[in-house]
Amino acid sequence: MQIHISTGDGLPIYLQVINQIKYLIASGRLSTGAELPPIRVLAAQLLINPNTVARAYRELEIAGIVEKRRTAGTYVSEQGSPLARRERVKILSERIDALLAEASHMGVAVDDILKLVQVRYASIQSTRNDTSTNP
């Protein structure tokens, strides 16, 4: 499980763990039924306090994203997938909000942003096609 902890931006570490596990589920890199590493293993891997990992797992469990099974161990729950959809929307919404805020500071109208999104999409598509034809 690839998680990266950074102390520079001030976001509490347990929230970084929660956000990144949600992201891994939303992006399909952790699927329903996948087992999360044991608390002490993840703590040792990320070099963070085990209580911090425990808190992140606890909050993910309360949110129904993961579940504990009888034989210890924490797994991505069945509900993971509808929740993953919601999470995808949430992650993208946050990015869009930031984009809109910045555009408003610069005095750029929403219609122009929508046009710009189309332009960027076309541009990315054409570079992809170029690289796929000339490897």
């Binding site: 902890i5 102390t7 520079g8 931006d9 001030g10 976001l11 509490p12 570490i13 608390i39 002490r40 703590a43 040792a44 070099l47 963070i48 306090n49 085990p50 209580n51 911090t52 425990a54």
Partner: protein, 304 residues
């Protein structure tokens, strides 16, 4: 097992109103500090803040001139056997007998600790890539720190005390030290007290912190609370201001004209309503790293 923190057990370290002077220079001024069982306690402060002096009181190397020190409920000066035998200690200088070989250091240290775990000691020696036959004086700075860490850990102490363990070490050895701290508390009930000025390390591993400055404790708090209660807020005022308008709970402020940025302590909701009452809008509101919180807490002219 991780849910039981902070535990109801009596504190491992209980320091009450300790003062200490060296000559006429105050080193500790009315310091009280409680380290509960089963977590990582980070003691943070600049050079000369009093961290090492405080740790020497914990180890019974200094006697409190005023106030009381209890470790596991015992006075470490009166009862060194009952306390030191249960503490693993790594000093900043990592003072080890230069003339010994690694193997000799291990056997020598083992003699002091009935709980010495030979299998674990050997595991650590292997993991740290230390040769039994190497003389301590020939070890690199990093290997010397690892040797010090080995003898501090191998008797599985109830309390691990590390004084600036990372200072002057490369990132690989620093990871070993953080890993050792984490493994120590992952074993139920054990406690770590460490001092550091590398605040990103403290933020990663500590669940409680105390800020010490000029011999006084400025703040003791759980890491959770200290992070929750400090924010950097940028306000935009309707009118330009020459000086930052006073905001409840603000520790520092920078800015000019319409926009001022404050580092504040206090509850989220209160801050927002205070800002609204001043006719200002919150245009940015962000959590702070422990590093930024520390700097905001130390009076500006004295910060290093």
């Amino acid at each position: 097992m991780f849910d039981a923190y902070p535990s109801a057990a009596p504190p491992i370290v209980d320091i009450r109103r300790v003062s200490r002077t060296f000559g006429d220079k105050p080193a500790l001024d009315d310091v009280s500090l409680v380290v509960p069982q089963g977590g990582v306690f980070g003691l943070i402060g600049g050079n000369g803040a009093g961290k090492t002096t405080l740790i020497k009181h914990v180890l019974g190397m200094l006697k409190a001139q005023q106030g009381s020190v209890r470790i596991f409920g015992l006075d470490p000066v009166q009862n060194p056997v009952g306390t030191l035998g249960r503490i693993g200690y790594l000093s900043e200088e990592r003072d080890l007998p230069d003339w010994m070989r690694v193997g000799e250091l291990m056997r020598y240290t083992q003699a002091f600790f009935p709980n010495w775990d030979e299998v674990y000691a050997e595991e650590l020696r292997d993991a740290f890539d230390l040769n039994r036959k190497s003389y301590i004086k020939t070890l690199s700075r990093g290997q010397r720190a690892r040797a010090g860490l080995l003898v501090a850990l191998a008797h599985r102490p109830e309390l691990l005390v590390l004084d600036e363990p990372s200072s002057g070490l490369d990132p690989v050895v620093r990871r070993d030290i953080l890993g050792a701290i984490i493994r120590t508390i992952a074993d139920e009930g054990r406690t770590v007290l460490f001092s550091s000025h590398l605040l990103d390390e403290v933020e990663r591993v500590a669940d409680r912190v105390a800020i010490i400055h000029q011999g006084r404790i400025l703040l003791t708090s759980s890491m959770e609370d200290i992070k929750d209660q400090h924010r950097r807020v940028t306000l935009r005022f309707q009118q330009p201001h020459e000086q930052p308008p006073a905001l409840v709970g603000s520790l520092t402020s920078t800015g000019a004209g319409h926009e001022w940025t404050y580092v504040c302590s206090g509850e989220h909701v209160q801050l927002r309503s205070a800002a609204e009452a001043m006719g200002a809008t919150v245009i940015d509101d962000a959590a702070l790293s422990l590093d930024e919180i520390f700097v905001s807490r130390i009076p500006a002219k004295e910060a290093r």
